[in-house]
Symmetry: C2
Subunit: 205 residues, 2 copies
């Protein structure tokens, strides 16, 4: 940490020294969704070299951001309380970054954890509170999520399941989260629920 520090004393500098290395915040992003095994992390970050993933996990551990926890015969990595406090950082990055995204390029993959964080950064609790509880099954460029909104809370799980509304979009994920629903295919359920989804999850352009 001494060789790559910035020589300054302030919060931003300190934060970047702890989680500013390449891939660091993407690992934190996935762990914000839930504890993950080494292989699950590697699967969600297909382009990270194995040695880099191992190095980052050690550094994040040393910094007190994640910990290794044994879970019935296997090891999982999970955020410590201090690590979980990175959620505002990750969500504000997600909000900001989404604004300049357009359609996914050929080589870009969409992962469940990435989309889960995107939904979290787009969630409008006050809008949701005024609407009835609703479940959605959404396909985003092949990644399938089951989303259950209930008052000011919501949960996301992987995979499709029967829901009030089932819909999918291939390439216009940013448009959908910005409220432009033209490219959405409704697979099942009342198409008018799409407007409700758009009110509940929205990233302003």
């Amino acid at each position: 940490m001494a060789a790559r520090d910035y020589g300054q004393y302030d919060g931003v500098t300190r934060a970047l020294e702890l989680v500013g290395e390449r891939w660091g915040l993407l690992i934190v992003r996935d762990l914000l969704v839930g504890p993950r095994r080494y292989g699950e992390l590697a699967e969600g970050l297909p382009r990270i070299p194995s040695n880099i993933l191992a190095a980052r996990l050690k550094e994040l551990q040393a910094a007190g951001i994640i910990r290794r926890a044994p879970r019935s015969r296997v090891i999982v990595y999970e955020l410590t309380p201090y690590g979980r406090e990175l959620e505002p950082v990750v969500l504000s990055l997600s909000t900001w970054g989404f604004k300049s995204l357009d359609a996914p390029r050929e080589e870009q993959i969409v992962t469940p954890d990435g989309m889960t964080i995107a939904l979290r950064s787009a969630f409008r609790p006050d809008a949701a509170a005024a609407l009835p509880s609703t479940s959605y099954a959404a396909g985003f460029a092949g990644t399938e999520l089951f989303i259950n909104v209930d008052g000011t809370d919501f949960g996301v799980q992987r995979g499709m399941a029967p829901a009030d509304l089932e819909f999918a979009t291939d390439s216009q994920i940013r448009a959908v989260l910005s409220g432009d629903l033209d490219s959405v295919r409704v697979l099942n359920g009342d198409p008018r629920l799409l407007a409700r989804f758009a009110q509940t999850f929205r990233l302003a352009a």
Copy 2:
């Protein structure tokens, strides 16, 4: 940008591709305080190599985050509207990073722009609204700032000036912003105003 991308499609990834390179967010941090000339940026980031500063400025420009603006014979760099929207990212990093800071090390410098952002991330508008307008002249490890709080607004300028309260601390900056005022030297004014400062600017531990 293509060679160093992460191969994923989501907001966090996109954001890190735009501002995640080394030094990127520190440049943005300083520009959030105000437009800066090339030399001013270099002065506030003493350890950045000149070629890296030049490269980052070009990349941030190409990404639409900053722009070069002529100001009466000289060039200044300033944030675009999209760049200014990074403020929540920088402030949340500041809030998070400060929690694990202790005293500045020998080789770490304290800069006016860094402290200004630290104060911004620590500012409690609702606490300030309930208190009388107050001006502070603060010395943080040699960096002197004049802070004027008025209702839910506040401004920071460089340098000392006559203020309701003048105080200084050398090494316990984190402690001061966490409400621990034991190490503060009051230079002028009513020492009881220190408590007001601590209510107005506070980073929870």
